[in-house]
Symmetry: C2
Subunit: 426 residues, 2 copies
C-alpha cells in the first residue's frame, strides 16, 4: 500500500533537504520512499491532505519511565529523596505486572497524542511494557532497570528481554543499570562486558543531582561520568539520562566516547535537581535528545514542554536569548534523540529510505497563527493539541487527534481500576 | 435564566469554601448565586454536566499586548533590544487600527480557548481593541500605552478611552505610562495626578531588564520601584508588569503601597531578561498575578505554561522543590490576578455574589489521569486542550472547545489578511 502525505511544510531534519514548502511524503511498506517538492504529481492508495500543516519526524522521548503515569500528581512539590523514599518507592513496591501494563498503556496513548513515536523506557515488569508497546504499534527502546542489590535476577530478566524482543516488533532492548549510585563501579564493568557480549547498548541515569556527584567522589574518588567511561560501558554504546552536573572535561569525554545524552529539563527543574548545560551538550557533537522523565516527576509526557523548557532555561542561564534556538531544540527532539538512542539509521528524519515515523501538525489554530517561521511556530507556539496525525513505521496510530489502535475510554478505565487497586484497595 | 454547572470538582479559590467534590455552581444574571455541595437538588434552565471535570475561576492574564499575536514567531531567538529595534518597532510603526483589531481578535480567541476570561492589555489603537473585546464578551482591563515623546496625544487618547469604556461592557480602563525608561519621573508624577483625578488605576512595565535598573540609577539616582512609589502613582492603584530585578526593599515598598504585580515568567525567560522572584512576590502579601506578555515574545498566550514556568523557575532558583507549589500558582493565575488588577470584588474566585467567570476543565484525558490531587493535575498536567467550557459573566463563550461567539476560520482568515498587508503587501 502506498500512502501520500500531501502539501505540508516538511521540516525534514535531513540536512540535504531542509524545509520543503508544500511538499509530499510517499510511504510504502512502512518506509519513506520519496520526499517530493511542490507540484509533483502523486498517485497513491491513501492520500492525506497536509496543507496548512507542518510535517515533522516523530518526536523521540529519549528517557522516561512510562508506567509512572500512575504516580502523576501523587507527590508534587516535594524534595527528590522525600518524593522517592516516602511516596514513590513504597507504592512501587506494590506494583504488579498488571499495574505496569495499564500505566504504560496510558503513557503510550499520551505520548502518541503528543507526537511522540518512540520512547526509551527504563522500568521493571518489562514484559508488560513490551505487551503495551506491541498492542499500540509505537516504537520503543526498553531497558529493565537493574540495581546491584538484586543484580542477578535483574540481569537475567534484562538478558531474557533482549533475546526475546531486540530488533522485533519495533522494539530495541538496552541493558539498564540504574545509576552509578545504585550500581558500584565493579558491577558496571560486569554490565559493560555483558552488553558487549550481547551486542546490546546500555541505558543509565547519570549526574542527575549534586548529591550523586558528592557521593561518588567520596566513595570512589571519581565523578559519575569518569566511572562510566572507565567501566567500558561506552564501548557498547550508551544512553545517559539527565547529565546535569557535568563539567567541561566530562562533556568532552562523554562526547568523545560517543555517549548518547537524554536531557530532561522539565523533570530536573520541577524536582530542583538542577538544569542541564543545554548548549554545551548541543555543541558537543554527540547525539543529544530530550526526555520527559516519568510523569510522576514531570507531570506530563510532552516534548513540546521539554523543547520550550530547554530553550528558556538555557537562555536564562546564559543570559543570551540567541542560545538554544528553535531549530536546535526541534533537532534534539527528533534526529538528536535518534542518534542518542543509536537508531538514527532507522528514524529521526524525513529521508528516503528511513522508516515512516511522522507527525502532521495542524497549524491552523489561533495559537499557531500567523506562521512567520514554521520551526519557530512548532517549537514555541504549537502544543500537543496541534498533533493531528501520527504514523509509526507507516501505520497511522493517531488520526484526526484520535487513537486508531484502541479506545481511549478503555485505556483510561484500565488506569482508574489499576490506581484504585494500587492506592486504595490494598 | 438560571444555569447549573453540576458535579465537578470546584476549586473555588475562596478560602471559606476551598475545594468542593462533586459540587454545583448556580449562575443567574451573570452572577454566581449558589455554590452547592454534593447531593444538593438543583433545578435550572440550563444544566451542564461537569462530572469528571474541575471547575476553576477564569484565568486572569495580568499583562499582555494582545495584538502582538501578529508578531508570533516573527523574531525569535534574538536579544531584547535587537528584537525590539530591528524587528518589532519597524513593523509596529506600520500597524493600523485594522491590524490591531484582527491581532486582538486572534488573541482573544486563543485566550478564551486556553481558559483566560480576563486580560490586562497595554497597546495602542485601543478603540479597535475595545471593539474586539465587546464582540467577544471577554473581560478586559485596557490601557493605552503612553511614552513621554508623544505624551499629549497618548494622554488624550487614554483619558478618552477611560471616559468612554471604564466600567462598561466588561471593560476597565487604566492609564498606561509605558515604563520608567520611556516616561521620566516628572511625567510619571503628572500621570499619577491625572489617574487620581479620574479615579483610574495605572498599568506600567517595571524592572524588566537589568539594563533598565542601571539606566534609572545613572539618570535619576533611583531604582525603578523607588521612582514609581515617589511619583504618587501607587496611591491611584497600580499594576506593575514584570518586576524581575527588584531587591527586598523594593518588594517591601511596592507591597506596602498595595501595588499589583504581573509576573511574566515565560516571556522573561525566552528574552533572557531574568526571572521574577516568584516566592518573594507570592509571600509579599500584595496582589500577585501571572501574565503571558505578548505572543511576539512569549509564543503563546497560555497561563498553564506560565504557572509551570513560574513554579519550575522558582524551584530551580531556590533549589527547593517545595517552593512555588501548585496551589500557590493556581491562586496567582486566578484570585491573585484579580487582586493585582483591582477587580477582586468582581471576579477571581467561585464565590456567591461574584460574577460568573468560570472554566470547566475536562480531566478525562490520558495526560490528566489518574487524578490524585485535582490542583496538582490542573497546574502540572492539564493543558489548554483540557479547557472544555468557558463562561464570562455567565455567558458561555467556549462550549465543548468551540467558540460560541464567532467562527474561528473567520478570525484566522482576518489575521492572515492582516499579516499579508503588514509584512508582504506594503
Amino acid at each position: 500500500m502506498k500512502t501520500a502525505i500531501i502539501g505540508g511544510t516538511l521540516i525534514t531534519q535531513d540536512p540535504r533537504t531542509g524545509v520543503v514548502d508544500r511538499g509530499t511524503v510517499i510511504i510504502e511498506d512502512g518506509t519513506i520512499t520519496q520526499v517530493l517538492a511542490e507540484g509533483s504529481t502523486v498517485s497513491a492508495d491513501v492520500n492525506i491532505d497536509a496543507s496548512g500543516c507542518a510535517v515533522i519526524p516523530g518526536l523521540i522521548n529519549a528517557h522516561t519511565h512510562a508506567a509512572m503515569t500512575l504516580f502523576r500528581g501523587y507527590a508534587d512539590d516535594l524534595p527528590l529523596f522525600a518524593w522517592l523514599r516516602e511516596r514513590i518507592w513504597p507504592v512501587e513496591a506494590r506494583l504488579t505486572a498488571e499495574h505496569v501494563y495499564h500505566g504504560t498503556r496510558l503513557a503510550i496513548a499520551e505520548m502518541l497524542l503528543s507526537g511522540i513515536t518512540c520512547f526509551a523506557d527504563m522500568y521493571f515488569e518489562m514484559e508488560a511494557v513490551a505487551q503495551a508497546v506491541r498492542e499500540s504499534g509505537i516504537r520503543a527502546v526498553l531497558s529493565r532497570g537493574i540495581i546491584a542489590d538484586s543484580a542477578e535476577s535483574g540481569m537475567n530478566e534484562a538478558v531474557e528481554l533482549f533475546l526475546k524482543y531486540h530488533g522485533k516488533h519495533r522494539i530495541q532492548v538496552m541493558l539498564g543499570p540504574h545509576a552509578p549510585y545504585t550500581c558500584p563501579p565493579d558491577f558496571l564493568v560486569e554490565v559493560g562486558k555483558e552488553a558487549r557480549r550481547l551486542g546490546a547498548r546500555v541505558h543509565i541515569h547519570l549526574a542527575e543531582t549534586w548529591a550523586e556527584i558528592e557521593e561518588m567522589k567520596e566513595k570512589y574518588g571519581r565523578r559519575p561520568a569518569e566511572i562510566l567511561v572507565d567501566s567500558g560501558i561506552t564501548q557498547a554504546g550508551v544512553l545517559c539520562a539527565h547529565c546535569v552536573h557535568v563539567d567541561k572535561e566530562e562533556i568532552r569525554r562523554l562526547a568523545e566516547a560517543g555517549a548518547g545524552i537524554a536531557m530532561c529539563p522539565v523533570s530536573n527543574a520541577k524536582l530542583a535537581a538542577g538544569f542541564p548545560p543545554v548548549s554545551a551538550w548541543l555543541d558537543s557533537g554527540t547525539g543529544v535528545g530530550l526526555g520527559t522523565d516519568g510523569a510522576g516527576s514531570a507531570g506530563r509526557l510532552d516534548l513540546f514542554d521539554a523543547m520550550r523548557a530547554a530553550s528558556s532555561g538555557e537562555k536564562l542561564a546564559s543570559m543570551d536569548p540567541r542560545k538554544a534556538s528553535a531549530p536546535e531544540l526541534l533537532a534534539a527532539a527528533t534526529s538528536g534523540g535518534a542518534r542518542a538512542l543509536g537508531i538514527d539509521h532507522l528514524t529521526g528524519s524525513i529521508s528516503e529510505g528511513k522508516l515512516a515515523d511522522l507527525v502532521v501538525i495542524d497549524l491552523n489554530t489561533p495559537w499557531t497563527q500567523p506562521v512567520h517561521d514554521p520551526v519557530s511556530t512548532v517549537v514555541y507556539s504549537a502544543t500537543t493539541e496541534n498533533v493531528k496525525h501520527v504514523f509509526v513505521e507507516g501505520q497511522q496510530l493517531v488520526k484526526d487527534r484520535m487513537l486508531t489502535y484502541a479506545d481511549i475510554d478503555d485505556i483510561i478505565g484500565g488506569v482508574k481500576r489499576a490506581t484504585r487497586s494500587l492506592f486504595v484497595g490494598r
